[in-house]
Symmetry: T
Subunit: 68 residues, 12 copies
């Protein structure tokens, strides 16, 4: 990581199944327009309750990518 | 969410299996007395170690529900 | 926990699969040299992206153990 | 405030007009069931956007009241 | 909010009149280029003093919008 | 702590004498209506000054108890 | 702001009407003894409840001024 | 507290005996030059070790007083 | 403190009596293996409740010592 | 700064030499695509160690620029 | 540091050259009116951009001094 | 960084000259007993004032190294 400049963007992804899948969905969607993603940090883990059960997970993810 | 007032309560749930199940256990237990839960936020992720292995996960969850 | 003194150490573990496995890998590795681990707290959840997908998860874990 | 014990509860109120009215709505609603409220702190100020404009304000308020 | 991915951007808006108008000015300006804004959070409330009076309010706002 | 769900409540207690007594007063008062309290965390330590001396200590305490 | 040194002081102002007026009251009062105030940041927004209604707003403000 | 403006100052006090006495020492010393102190918050609790024992406690205290 | 390098370790101590004694117990225990401790900071103050009363205090302490 | 709306972006820059140069490298690179940068805040200061020495510094910088 | 009371003040210093010089400028200016400064902490590191380059560094510094 | 477990330790280094040198002094000293250091984060930047000037810089550094 020594001689690059990175930009970080903040995404929110969701999944009915797990925290990991919610993060993966955010990364996959971002990959349609952002190349060279390198790392991420999960900064918030939330979710919605529907009929007394967890309807889906919702995570905020900060993603870093190389500015070519 | 425009014209309601919500109350938030703080719960701690646990599970021998996963973070997601620990959250679900807290939500399910709260549902016995609280109706209209809408969303949650995981504010702490902890656990206990037993014989050098993870014995169970323990999460602190802030849960919001509608005041009818 | 009433009459012991504990020490806390900070570890970083990783896994290609899940947050839970990344924590477990850190705990297992620490167990080679530290006895009497009692509890942990996950303080950071990060990861690396490889070819537009999550390559592995990387967690920072604070672990408490009894000073005999 | 010297010889009482207080309890704090966390509420979320909203208003289409202002931050102040969102707080007032939460306090008024809580007053239907909680007596002796004494002070509050606004801990989050959020809102929703509808059609490119602010649809309503949504505040999280921590409210302290005397336990008689 | 169950099956979308959102992006969050951070804006700073100002107003000579009120905190609410400073937020509204940031949202309105962002709406010229960003569609589908959904929610916001006020993360800093500042201002400038001119001749011993509040010259204008200046707020930092984190805004989430749907990635279509 | 493995198979229970806990609820946390936030109290403010006070004492003219010490931080410890202010916490104890909050715990004792809560015990009139809450059973099965298990642990607490002191999150704020404040006080009031009267005639240039400390009039009383005032602590904010988060208390966890078992939901039977 | 390039070649000055500033000092920051912390004030608490109040108003029965609004957050903005509470800040303005703090700034106006400080202006009786402090010259060259330049900017401020609102770090806490609190208030007191009287008879189930908001009695007044109380804000903590950090104010920066030029050391001549 | 409704119609005053307060100023807050930050002090560090110490004591060989207790946290409470370290706070009291700071308040007493400040009272030589500051009138109308009303409340305080302990923001840091530290200390120094001498010969393997606690030599003295050192607390950081934020103190609010009325601007007449 | 000008020309040394220090290491900081994190300990958890407890006492049935007071916060100060809980810190002292942690420092005393650490002194069995660590020489040249110089200062500490209390970062968490917790405790356990037994039969509706405070059973013991439990503090987290960060301790700095000289690397000879 | 009274009548503009600003956007803030988050960058990570690095340098083998100093914190200041790591920030400057991030600003310079961003200037290839972003005009009207006005201010920045350093939010993290990190680095990598190579062969027991500091290989390079790595800073996270939040940069504000005018939306024309 | 055992038997004194300290006061802490908050300053903002700047320099076109480096973070260190910005801190030094704040300390030097404060020394015109404050005696017995003992330690400082850098709490914010910011700066301004002019023509795509760093125009100057601006640091917030908390400075402690002995109350004689 | 994919298949290792890391441990993090916290150091305090100092230098009369610069923040960078204070960090380097901590890293160099730690290298006498710790192998395989990989990265660090500067978590506090402090210093001492002597005769109205900066006597030395003192930084707290969290350092991660590979557990072989």
């Amino acid at each position: 990581m020594s001689d690059h400049v990175y930009k970080k963007i903040e995404l929110v992804g969701s999944s009915p199944t797990s925290i990991e899948e919610a993060v993966a969905n955010a990364i996959t969607r971002a990959g349609q327009t952002v190349r060279n993603m390198r790392w991420f940090e999960v900064t918030e883990t939330r979710g919605h309750v529907e009929d007394g059960r967890i309807g889906h997970w919702q995570v905020t993810v900060s993603v870093g990518f190389t500015l070519d």
